[in-house]
């Protein structure tokens, strides 16, 4: 295992967003993989251990909040960042908070420069 885990999972049902974000992160020295479905990210966890999960919230099938709870349970040390372009997210986050989960949320669109700055801190 490398000393500093730079593995990042990027999940967004919009493939363009997940892919471009993964490329941006890789150019900045991370090891990012893009997933256009939450289930794929869950499956990949058996082979790669991410240090960070970045995920959209509103996705068909499983929401980003559900995905985040799954990761939080399975891998508590993994950092989680959720993105959303919608207000209905606030409701989902409140529900999660009621269950004891607190997730970082950024509203779309997030400028890559801002995201990278946040990750470097």
């Amino acid at each position: 295992m490398p000393d500093t885990n730079r593995v990042v999972f990027v999940v967004d049902d919009e493939a363009v967003i997940a892919q471009t974000l993964a490329i941006i992160l890789n150019q900045a020295g991370f090891q990012a993989s893009a997933f256009d479905h939450p289930e794929k990210a869950i499956a990949a966890r058996s082979e790669l251990t991410p240090a960070l999960l970045i995920s959209d919230v509103m996705m068909p099938g499983m929401t980003g909040v559900e995905l985040a709870i799954h990761f939080r349970k399975a891998q508590p040390e993994c950092k989680i960042l959720l993105f959303s372009g919608q207000a209905s997210t606030a409701d989902l986050l409140e529900k999660a908070r009621a269950e004891g989960y607190d997730f970082d949320l950024l509203s779309k669109p997030v400028h890559p420069a801002d995201l990278l700055a946040k990750l470097r801190v």
Binding site: I17, Q86, L105, K108, P109, V110, H111
Partner: protein, 267 residues
């Protein structure tokens, strides 16, 4: 019945019908726009990333970099517009009882990135809870617009006060900042649409806030000072606790509570 009070009632009814008409327009627009906002935000996110990537290409000419920088700035501006203009008006077809204190807390959380970036000192002073019957998405939008304005106006380490209280049959939301204040020249047309003093503003933010507040039969006031050393702005929204007494249906009649009377209004 004295003649005055009859005309008064007539005027009040006219006022409420006007409110209802405006609310109708806003709700319709909101439903259409709300449905596509998610799509728009996704396109924006993709574009922002793609332009960022194009700019980092090593074979990018100086001129290309300039163009892409400008494209990036245009996108940021577009992002501003979407986040202030009906972004949160969703499928709010019903007014529901919600806690305004929770809502204000959520709105602050949503913007905590910008708040911490500027190291803004946020103070909240609210009752335990403030239950009102409102359209949650719309009030959330109104709060967001006011918060964003304050955050923008504030210098580094400025102060932001958010307060929610119940006064008799109204909920009072106060958002105050000690930023530069609203310039005198703006104050006359502050709530007019498409007039903005910001270079990248579209001027819809406060107009939308006012429309939302009005459609809830509420009021909005502000005080502002640009005097150096004592500058700042306070916005105060007052919402009747039972502002929208019944859930409207897309077609059909509505029950509108006007003071203590109820009237049936058929659209």
């Amino acid at each position: 019945m004295p003649r005055d009070s009859f005309e008064d009632e007539g005027q009040k009814l006219k006022g409420c019908e006007e409110n209802l008409r405006r609310y109708h327009q806003l709700a319709l627009a909101g439903r259409l726009v709300g449905a596509s906002m998610h799509e728009v935000n996704n396109r924006l996110a993709a574009l922002t990333n793609l332009i960022f990537l194009a700019r980092t290409l090593s074979d990018c000419s100086l001129q290309s970099v300039e163009y892409l920088d400008e494209a990036d700035s245009q996108l940021c501006s577009l992002g501003e517009i979407t986040s202030r203009s009906l972004a949160f008006i969703r499928l709010d077809t019903e007014a529901k009882e919600i806690d305004l204190v929770d809502l204000a807390t959520s709105a602050l959380r949503l913007h905590h990135e910008q708040i911490s970036k500027k190291r803004i000192n946020v103070q909240t002073r609210s009752s335990e809870s403030a239950l009102v019957r409102v359209k949650k998405g719309e009030i959330f939008q109104a709060l967001t617009n006011l918060l964003l304005n304050s955050i923008e106006a504030l210098p580094h380490s400025g102060n932001l006060h958010v307060r929610v209280a119940i006064r008799r049959s109204n909920a009072i939301i106060t958002i105050a900042d000690n930023g530069s204040g609203i310039p005198e020249s703006m104050r006359g047309t502050l709530f007019d649409s498409f007039k903005s003093n910001k270079s990248e503003g579209n001027g819809l933010g406060l107009w939308i806030v006012r429309e939302i507040v009005r459609s809830h039969c509420g009021t909005i006031q502000y005080r502002s000072s640009s005097v150096v050393g004592r500058s700042g702005t306070i916005f105060r929204i007052s919402l009747p606790i039972q502002s929208l007494a019944a859930a409207p249906s897309p077609e059909g009649s509505y029950l509108v509570a006007t003071g203590r009377k109820t009237r049936t209004v058929v659209p």
